[in-house]
């Protein structure tokens, strides 16, 4: 089969809408366009039924009940609502929040804002494999701790945190547990009961649904979680999130969850094989390549590799018919590479050489082979151009050199 270029392999950033999802959504733009809050005519009832159906599809995927699903504009809003809403609601109980350093900015920057308002936040470090230490978590808990917010799986390195263990600790101590489930839900089994999750952010566009729709799981029993709203208005979503519901988006998110539920087992197996094929085909042909993050506790469709002595952005430029991401940030004003890789203890030199591959539902083995071959060929070409590779081959330990202009940067 001929390969169609460019190839998209950046499925942690976003995913295409599955055609089945699009098909489910279409009628709700035109003939079924009602406002789900319209109680006195058919148009409203039809829309409401569709929303409730979607609530059920989402709840089922994570073993929740439909009433525990609150619709939002995306996971960024869900996370803001979970953290700010709980912080405000339980201010009397305490002002301490625990999170960790490799969280998405939606979590980190929300916590930073709360610090300005007098909350205290502990940012747990991660170990070399990208996971937090449960001992450190236990030690960080104080009588003032009201919330623990830890992501299920990381968006750069795909590392899966020990969620069920964290959930157990949270429950023991009577602390609410919020999980950024964006990268994990629909990809690996997530069960809010078994995992002891009280709040969880979900995003449509990471699971082959549309952009601009997300959900927050809010536990109603054992314990019941209450949130202060951050968007006030007509009192939709049990007062937690006002605003006319995005019915088309909600239908799409529901359908996306249903497909994930039905196909997850087979799909994750397929993606794991493709990931292994990609990794093997790259790493067996290049020296000085390193995988970032745990292989044991990892999403099946993620691999993040550092190609020593080749700067990530120049590598992306060489494989410009392939869409992947780099941990290098040559374009940012600070020249800071990925904070996630730095948190793992990956040296800044190697962080600049990292590439994230996110294999998705629509990638094929032929595409994987093409990507691997292009990466290998480009790395080889750029290493011919790299003074660092040359020095390393001459036996110079590049990491121990002092660099002339390093101090100025």
């Amino acid at each position: 089969m001929a390969i169609k270029l460019p190839i998209y392999m950046d499925n942690h950033a976003t995913t295409p809408v599955d055609p089945r999802v699009l098909e489910a959504m279409l009628p709700y733009f035109t003939e079924k366009f009602g406002n789900s809050a319209s109680r006195n005519h058919e148009f409203g009832w039809v829309a409401e039924e569709a929303v409730e159906n979607a609530r059920g599809q989402i709840a089922k995927l994570i073993n929740a009940t439909p009433k525990e699903i609150i619709f939002t504009s995306g996971a960024t809003e869900s996370t803001n609502l979970a953290i700010k809403g709980a912080a405000e609601m339980y201010r009397e109980k305490g002002n301490h929040i625990i999170t960790q350093v490799t969280e998405h900015k939606a979590t980190l920057d929300t916590c930073k804002r709360l610090e300005k308002y007098g909350y205290e936040v502990t940012y747990l470090p991660v170990q070399k494999d990208g996971r937090i230490s449960l001992d450190e978590l236990r030690k960080a808990i104080t009588p003032k701790t009201i919330l623990i917010s830890i992501m299920y799986a990381n968006n750069e390195i795909g590392v899966v945190q020990p969620i069920a263990e964290i959930g157990k600790i949270a429950k023991e101590k009577g602390i609410f547990f919020h999980v950024d489930g964006v990268q994990a839900v629909g990809k690996i089994p997530v069960d809010v009961q078994k995992d002891g999750i009280d709040l969880m952010s979900i995003s449509g566009h990471k699971i082959y649904g549309p952009k601009g729709i997300g959900a927050l799981y809010v536990r109603r029993k054992n314990p019941r979680v209450q949130l202060a709203a951050i968007i006030d208005g007509g009192g939709h979503e049990r007062g937690m999130r006002s605003g006319t519901l995005n019915v088309t988006g909600i239908v799409g998110l529901g359908k996306a969850c249903e497909i994930c539920q039905n196909e997850m087992a087979a799909e994750s197996e397929k993606l794991r094989k493709l990931r292994e094929r990609l990794t093997e085909r790259i790493m067996s042909r290049l020296d000085e390549t390193f995988i970032n993050g745990s292989m044991e506790h990892r999403l099946p469709h993620n691999i993040n590799i550092s190609f020593a002595f080749v700067e990530g952005e120049s590598l992306l430029m060489g494989i410009n018919d392939i869409a992947v991401s780099s941990g290098s940030a040559c374009t940012s004003a600070t020249l800071e590479p990925s904070y996630v890789l730095k948190a793992l203890g990956v040296g800044e030199d190697l962080a600049h050489t990292s590439i994230r591959f996110g294999i998705g539902r629509f990638n094929t083995a032929e595409e994987v082979d093409y990507v691997a071959d292009r990466v290998v060929e480009t790395v080889q070409r750029l290493r011919e151009l790299s003074p660092l590779y040359e020095m390393a081959k001459e036996g110079v330990d590049v990491s121990k050199m002092t660099w002339q202009t390093a101090a100025e940067h």
Binding site: E311, E313, C330, P337, G347, L385, S399, A406, E408
Partner: protein
């Protein structure tokens, strides 16, 4: 971010890639940047001690496409110039030629630093009285 056609052209067909013999008294070597900052440039020039004309220039660069293009262009420009003419090349000339956006100006600064560092090394080897350490261009923009 989109690259200019000239950056892409240099990236795809870099000029004067390679290394000269560091020990040759007529070869000056400049190694600037740092791996943790995401760019390292090595620029080497072979200078005729009688005419002070740069007869050969080679580079190797670890860095983004703009860094590769800046150093490739630098080797092209210094070849055939005298030491003094080469030292007059400004990073802003490189910015203009390659249409570098503001976030990539540091790449051109590094290329200017590399030219200066290589020629200062050459002067040192020549026992040139004027030899002084490379003066980085506008370091603040790094």
């Amino acid at each position: 971010m989109a690259y200019s056609d000239k950056v892409i052209e240099h990236y795809n067909n870099p000029r004067n890639v390679g290394s000269l013999d560091k020990k040759d008294p007529n070869v000056g070597t400049g190694l600037v940047g740092a791996p943790e900052c995401g760019d390292v440039m090595k620029l080497q020039m072979k200078v005729n001690p009688d005419t002070r004309i740069i007869e050969e220039a080679k580079f190797k660069t670890f860095g983004c496409g703009s860094a590769i293009a800046s150093s490739s262009l630098a080797t092209e420009w210094v070849k055939g110039k005298t030491v003094e003419e080469a030292l007059a090349i400004k990073n802003t000339d490189i910015v203009r030629e390659l249409s570098l956006p503001p976030v990539k100006i540091h790449c051109s600064v590094l290329a200017e630093d590399a030219i200066k560092a290589a020629l200062s090394d050459w002067k040192k080897k020549q026992g040139d009285a004027e030899a002084k350490p490379a003066e980085p261009a506008t370091a603040a923009s790094h």
